[in-house]
């Protein structure tokens, strides 16, 4: 197991290397010359050349990449062009709302999707099954920001039950914190829940047709015992895999959902950075989200040994 973890960690190095090269190229090929911006309007060509030299902008691509990557490894993500603050500092400030939104969305969607997926497989062919499948197709088709507006219209504008926008930190009390996250996580969680429900159903259908399920029924186990203890446990690997892969959807959705609900998180930071063409921030955010995605999928891989004792590394 330990050697597998080490091998798996080593395997992420080339992946993150590609991400790093892509991210660095983004700044390298970005239009506009930082030296010209720093030098100001009255600068001469010599001034700009001097700043170029000072910043190391006249070095070749590989040298600059190495300097940049070395900085990143030590936690230096560069300085925001617009606010002049360290990118890592800006990301840290915005981490809490995004983490809160992602975690609540995960809980909501997994908590909803697995039971309805199991139910649909158990009652395959009935109206329950069709309703769940209909929900899944709808989930894939209604973009999260569209659903966000529908939810705001119903629950905030019409009934005035929940706040339209904004975010309250958990330190200000649990209920206000939760109140601000209900609609965003419902909007963001739909597509994710649709994906998980669909795979849960498919995986459960596969397992439910196995002989050992018939045996479990035959020896008189209750349906609940068969479903949860025997079927779901054996159907878990594809479900967990899709939860990991689906994190990519979640990250894409976070950016838009935070915009709709005016949540001051990393998604909002990204959108502002794009509008201002603040490339160091865009770089930092891509690195952060991609690392999170790679780590989540690494954990998913490792979870296989727990979920399925037959998997040995």
């Amino acid at each position: 197991m330990f050697s597998y973890i080490v091998r798996r960690l080593i395997a992420t190095i080339p992946v993150m290397g590609v991400v790093a090269i892509f991210v660095f190229s983004l700044l390298y090929f970005a239009p506009g010359d930082p030296a010209a911006i720093i030098a100001g309007d009255l600068a001469t060509a010599q001034d700009i050349a001097r700043i170029h030299h000072q910043l190391g902008l006249d070095e070749p691509f590989l040298v600059r990449f190495w300097q940049w990557a070395w900085g990143v490894l030590r936690g230096d993500l560069g300085i925001s062009i617009f606010t002049n603050q360290p990118v890592w500092h800006l990301i840290q400030q915005r981490l809490e709302p995004t983490a809160a939104l992602t975690v609540t969305t995960l809980i909501v969607s997994v908590g909803l999707a697995i039971p309805i997926g199991v139910l649909a497989a158990w009652r395959a062919g009935t109206w329950i099954d069709r309703a769940v499948m209909g929900f899944a197709v709808l989930g894939f088709s209604v973009p999260s920001f569209v659903l966000a507006y529908v939810l705001i219209l119903i629950f905030s504008v019409e009934f005035d039950w929940l706040p339209v926008q904004g975010y309250t930190s958990i330190t200000a009390g649990f209920w206000p914190f939760l109140q601000h996250l209900i609609l965003p996580s419902a909007a963001l969680g739909l597509i994710y829940a649709a994906l998980i429900a669909r795979i849960t159903r498919a995986s459960m259908l596969e397992v439910l047709s196995q002989d050992y399920i018939r045996t479990a029924h035959a020896k008189g186990l209750s349906s609940r015992n068969v479903l949860i203890g025997h079927a779901l446990k054996n159907a878990a690997v594809p479900i967990v895999t899709v939860i990991g892969i689906g994190v990519a959807l979640l990250i894409g959705g976070v950016i838009v959902t935070e915009t709709v609900f005016a949540i001051p998180g990393i998604g909002r930071l990204t959108v502002d950075a794009i509008l201002r063409r603040d490339y160091p921030i865009i770089q930092g955010v891509i690195l952060l989200f991609s690392s999170a995605y790679v780590i989540v999928n690494l954990l998913v891989d490792l979870s296989y040994t727990v979920l399925d004792p037959r998997v040995r590394y």
Binding site: P14, V15, M16, G17, V18, V19, I21, F22, V23, L26, F29, A30, P31, V137, L138, F140, S141, V142, P143, F145, V146, Y149, V150, I152, L153, V157, V164, R198, A202, L205, E206, V247, A248, L249, I251, G252, G253, I255, V256, T259, V260, T270, V271, A273, I274, L275, R277, Y279, I282, V285, I286, F289, S290, Y293, V294, N297
Partner: protein
Amino acid sequence: MTTAPLDFEAISAARRERAAFLELLRRHPTIAIGLAILALMLLMAVLAPYLATVDPQALSPIRRLRFPSQANWFGTDMLGRDVYSRVVYGARVSLWVGFWVAFFSTAIGLVIGLVTGFSRPVDAVVMRIMDGLMSIPPVLLAIALMALTRASTGNVILAITISQVPQVTRLVRGVVLSLREQPFVEAAIAVGTGYFKTLWRHILPNTVAPLLVQGTYICASAMITEAILSFIGAGTPPNIPSWGNIMAEGRSLFQVAYYIVLFPAVFLSVTVLAVNLVGDGLRDALDPRLARRM
């Protein structure tokens, strides 16, 4: 004067094809429903100037923020532009982007996938790059690429295509890897069939079905991504009405004029739903083994 003899062979073949298509629609009604909705949207996009619309960019400050009425079916926005006309014209961008992204990403992914699946040294290098690109969430990748260029429909297509290519490549590569071990491919290689001929004659035809299904899903996802990009201000330029940027413009006024956001949202969702219905139907039709489970 002589008349050309009727080609009964060709006519009956065409009839058989039509009958097979109708049978497909009958067995998989979701394809029929999806295609019907898409055809309507396509007609709407093509005939936009003739559907009681006005210039979607025409400003009329005196008539701004009007609630939907007989004169303005979907109301007017903050600049007095007719939301109905903008939504109808907006269909053009979504369908255009959806189609071309699906086309280019399957075409590029197919070529890369075929080569990587068949050549180990290329595979080792290219798949590492694809793994890296796949670990950047597609929407984020598209956003990053759009940040490098100026807003235009062409750039949106390019950015979304690049973000989708790794998935297609991986799909095609998977198909090729499993086909390569099949006896008929081994037999073809054993009798001395060339590299390209084996690819063309034995591998390529088997990638069509999964690619068709994947292509429809990419189309749906591209429409959503285009809307997301336009919505956050990094997509289609504001002078071209697209469902995403109409929604973006209505964002700040949502509480007073929710209809500006609602109408393009409904059209976008229905169109994406239609594409997904076609995709699900095709998947069921082309892979009956999977259909029972999904």
